[in-house]
């Protein structure tokens, strides 16, 4: 408890670097980041020691008047995630942030501390006021961080869009908290868990809470801010937003679902599950169509949050069917996948930052062959890409496997044809999501890192400074470690959900789940052993033949191949774009700049745009309606003072008449 409280103090000290004099801005940056590293490490350590070896019932129990700080295991799980991500991203930021020297770097490092502080504060809030206060600080600080490069037009519009959206979310959460709080003794979480909310009001509270938290975690159709805000923010900020802030929304929703609302209503879980599944598939589909590296990752976050919420929803459904022992796997899956996603998405945003740093661009169509220029970054990115495609030996498959197991468990319980159709639908979406995610990251990695340079921006690319590599390296190492030895994380997360009494799923042999009847096992370490032995054997026998290797251009047909012969990222996703035209609705426009002859010497430009489905179908009409209705109001708003005095007088008279009549 003291450790956690003092870490909050260190974050505050780090925030104060904002006030350092301008000539010390580099020192301020280092000091700020060091504070963040130390404090995040302390947060992670206190959460870890509380989770593995609890000496007291609460991680933290402290109050100041009506403001409570209260940490249970559910908080600690997310504190662990936030602390670990905070450490490696801050290490990365030591070097990455230097790119902002002279561009308000003190604000960047100071607010960085405040950002993590607000995240930690949300996670240990013990009452609705503290929660909303920290939630709002988190939203405002992240808005400022997204808006850091405010010289760019896109950044400003993205930041304000984020601001507006996140406040709609906060409003929804406020309503939900109010509904629950007004039906309980006080607004403290402990009292709110004994609320007497029933019937329609409970449904309304659930809908508002889910909408608010889904917005913050970027579930469709409320994801609209996410693919804009992430590319606009500095890379380490996107890493923290995507890696940690989105999970804080899961924390909030989990607290709401477990503690305040309960899970005995079937359709609550169903809604969460379906929204999650649809977000997962559509998110990854849009990710595969993008060519901006950070937008790809942002849409992939939509996908992964979708999977996490789908697993959580599956757990809620199992709970509503009174299958408590089986629901454990689903909730654990959601937590494990959330943890693994914070590692791998943090890693990938850091490598996106490294690539931007090296080439000055986010557009993968301009890259190619980066693996030769920046070998370490290439290895770390490969690990991240493998993890996000949920391949074996990375943390990705651990989460994904548990998610799939929870849906299989649900399938066993699905007796009626309706439930079976639901399960089939879920598996079709999960299958397509998995395969498309693989395609998406093959495309990202293959286009950016392999092959040949497409433009000259790659030529000046260089390997990144040590701290950036170190940050990425730690994340990549954790991804691989968790992929090979999943049992520590799985057991910790399971204990968060089920308590110490239930036998753990993880063992040194791998993860074992017996909820679906007989046992199913995933033992990555043993598979890796098998792979390593075979691989060693093959590598030795191949290298003995090494003298037969020639280096020559293949299939050149007597010409000099150019780098433009390579497949582009847009070309790579063409079959999928065509297969899912009905959803993606791509807009293609061809402009002929020169067309004397129909086959030869043509010069043309092809513009391809894939507008976000919900942007066009949902948000545009709403925005248009708002603008139209405000221009209707403009007729009343003439701006002349006498008119307003007139309005006031009319209002007064109406009120007076009202008062007399009643």
């Amino acid at each position: 408890m003291e450790l956690l409280l003092s870490s909050l103090g260190i974050y505050l000290v780090g925030t104060l670097t904002i006030l350092w004099p301008k000539r010390l801005e580099l020192a301020a940056h280092y000091a700020g980041m060091l504070c963040a590293i130390v404090a995040s490490g302390m947060v992670a350590w206190s959460a870890l020691s509380y989770l593995t070896n609890p000496v007291s019932a609460w991680l933290i129990e402290w109050h100041w008047g009506d403001y409570y700080l209260l940490g249970d295991t559910w908080s600690a799980a997310f504190l662990l995630l936030a602390g670990i991500a905070g450490v490696f991203i801050s290490i990365y930021a030591l070097d990455y942030g230097k790119g902002y020297l002279g561009e308000r770097i003190r604000a960047l490092s100071g607010l960085w501390n405040l950002f993590i502080l607000s995240i930690v504060a949300v996670l240990i809030s013990g009452d609705a006021f503290t929660f909303i206060l920290s939630w709002e600080i988190m939203a405002l600080v992240s808005f400022l961080l997204v808006n850091h490069e405010s010289g760019k037009k896109d950044t400003v519009s993205a930041a304000y869009q984020y601001m507006v959206m996140t406040h709609i979310g906060t409003a929804a959460i406020l309503v939900a908290f109010y509904l629950v709080g007004s039906h309980s003794a006080s607004f403290g979480f402990a009292d709110m868990s004994h609320n007497d909310l029933t019937g329609m009001m409970k449904n309304i509270a659930f809908v508002f809470a889910f909408a608010g938290f889904a917005l913050k975690s970027g579930l469709m159709p409320l994801h609209i801010w996410l693919p804009n805000a992430h590319p606009a923010a500095p890379s380490h900020v996107s890493a923290l937003m995507s890696g940690v802030m989105l999970k804080v929304a899961l924390y909030g929703f989990g607290r709401f679902a477990f503690q305040f609302i309960g899970m005995d209503t079937f359709w609550y879980g169903l809604v969460v599950m379906l929204v999650g599944l649809i977000s997962a598939f559509l998110g990854v589909l849009y990710a595969t169509m993008e060519s901006d590296m950070k937008r790809i990752l942002a849409y992939s976050s939509v996908e992964n949050m979708g999977i996490i919420f789908a697993a959580f929803g599956c757990g809620m459904v199992l709970m509503s069917l009174q299958l408590l022992p089986l629901a454990i796997v689903a909730f654990t899956a959601a937590l494990v996948h959330a943890f693994s996603h914070s590692l791998m998405k943090g890693l990938m945003f850091m490598s996106a930052g490294a690539v931007m740093h090296a080439t000055g661009s986010k557009n993968i169509e301009k890259m190619g062959g980066l693996a030769k220029k920046m070998p370490y970054t290439a290895i770390f990115t490969l690990i991240g890409a493998m993890a996000l495609s949920s391949l074996p030996f990375t943390s990705g498959l651990v989460g994904e496997w548990m998610v799939l197991q929870s849906f299989i468990t649900f399938a066993q319980q699905a007796g009626t044809p309706e439930l079976r159709l639901l399960v089939i639908f879920a598996f079709i979406l999960l299958g397509m999501t998995g395969a498309t995610a693989l395609g998406c990251f093959v495309r990202l990695y293959g286009v950016a890192f392999l092959g040949r340079a497409r433009t000259s921006i790659v030529d000046k690319a260089h390997e990144q400074p040590a701290f950036m590599l170190m940050g990425m390296g730690i994340a990549a190492g954790l991804v691989v470690f968790m992929g090979i030895c999943p049992d520590p994380v799985v057991n910790i997360m399971q204990r968060v959900i089920a308590g110490p009494a239930v036998p753990p799923m993880g063992s040194p042999f791998g993860i074992i789940w017996g909820g679906s009847g007989q046992y199913a096992i995933y033992s990555p370490a043993i598979i890796l052993g098998l792979v390593a032995v075979t691989g060693l054997f093959l590598t030795v026998s191949l290298s003995r033949k090494g003298r037969f290797v020639q280096r020559d251009v293949t299939w050149n047909c007597g010409t000099e191949p150019t780098s433009r012969q390579q497949y582009t990222a847009t070309g790579f996703s063409k079959p999928l774009r065509r297969a899912f035209t009905a959803i993606l609705n791509p807009k293609r426009r061809t402009e002929y700049l020169r067309k004397e002859h129909s086959y030869f010497g043509r010069k043309m430009e092809v513009h391809l745009e894939i507008p976000d489905l919900f942007n066009d179908k949902l948000y545009k009409p709403v925005v248009t309606w708002m603008i139209n209705s405000s221009s209707a109001f403009r007729r009343v708003q003439q701006g002349s003072v006498s008119l307003y005095i007139g309005y006031t007088m009319v209002a007064m008279i109406v009120v007076l008449i009202w008062g007399v009549l009643l």
């Binding site: 495609s389 391949l391 074996p392 498959l397 994904e400 496997w401 799939l404 299989i408 399938a411 066993q412 079976r420 399960v423 089939i424 598996f427 079709i428 299958g431 397509m432 395969a435 693989l438 395609g439 093959v442 495309r443 293959g446 392999l450 092959g451 040949r452 679906s516 009847g517 007989q518 046992y519 199913a520 096992i521 995933y522 033992s523 043993i526 598979i527 098998l530 792979v531 075979t534 093959l538 191949l542 033949k545 037969f548 290797v549 020639q550 280096r551 020559d552 293949t554 299939w555 191949p561 780098s563 012969q565 390579q566 497949y567 070309g571 790579f572 079959p575 999928l576 065509r578 297969a579």
Partner: protein
Amino acid sequence: MRFFFEGLGLNIIQGLILLLFAPLLAGIINKVKAFLQKRKGASIFQEYFDLYKWWRKPTILTPYTTTVFVAAPIVYFITCFVAAAMVPGFLSGQVSIGDAFVFVYILALGRFFMTLSSMDAATAFGGMGGSREIYISVLVEPAVMLAILINSMRYHTTTLSSMVIDYDGAYFTVSAALACVAFFLVILAENSRLPVDNPDTHLELTMIHECMTLEYSGPLLTLIHLGSMLKVMVFLTLFGALYLPLAVPLALKILFGAVLIGVVEILNNKMRLFKVRVYMGAAVVLLLLAIIAE
């Protein structure tokens, strides 16, 4: 512990057995096709000679390639081998090191590296193959998931060895027959066979998997071909053990599957790339009916 490692040894032995017979199976498929085309055809052992020939040839690497290019065939082969060690087959007493989902994702690891390697040589053909491979895999995956789902609903587990058809119960049901047909469609698509892909041509309009192997030569090419043959073997073993509801020995069922592949390849043309949607849709619908009927 000792039991575990003995079981693991059996897994490896089974992987080796499947590996040994995989080229023979490919030879048999070719022989069936030749027979139906009224050709004499090559000997059923021809694939062994071909593999030996490629193994002895030198490797040519395009200078643009990275380590991924060399690693990809190795990883691809290993994933096929591990998959072969995981399927339930001829030996009893094997241990489970991963269930059906792990099996799928092990194969996905191979696909990941093969598609990456296709983009590494910086040619148009490679990228085309990779792009189409991804497209096909997105369409196949739902059917694969449903094929796992139906068996796991029937046998209450996703462990492959526990899903083996139980001949004591009612095994020849409508649902089993539908699932069997659907899984055969999945096999054709997963292993780049007609009508989804044509393993015999090197024509850019038709090929998918072969596009990705164009840049390879020598031992690396051997590994890819052997891996592909092994993959067919693995899928036919699964087909025989889990989906073909006939109470005959597994080896016969595998042989039957191979003959069936040969016959289907003779009777069908390669379908247009964007028709594959309909084809896989059919597989998904069959599985859907099978699950409802279960």
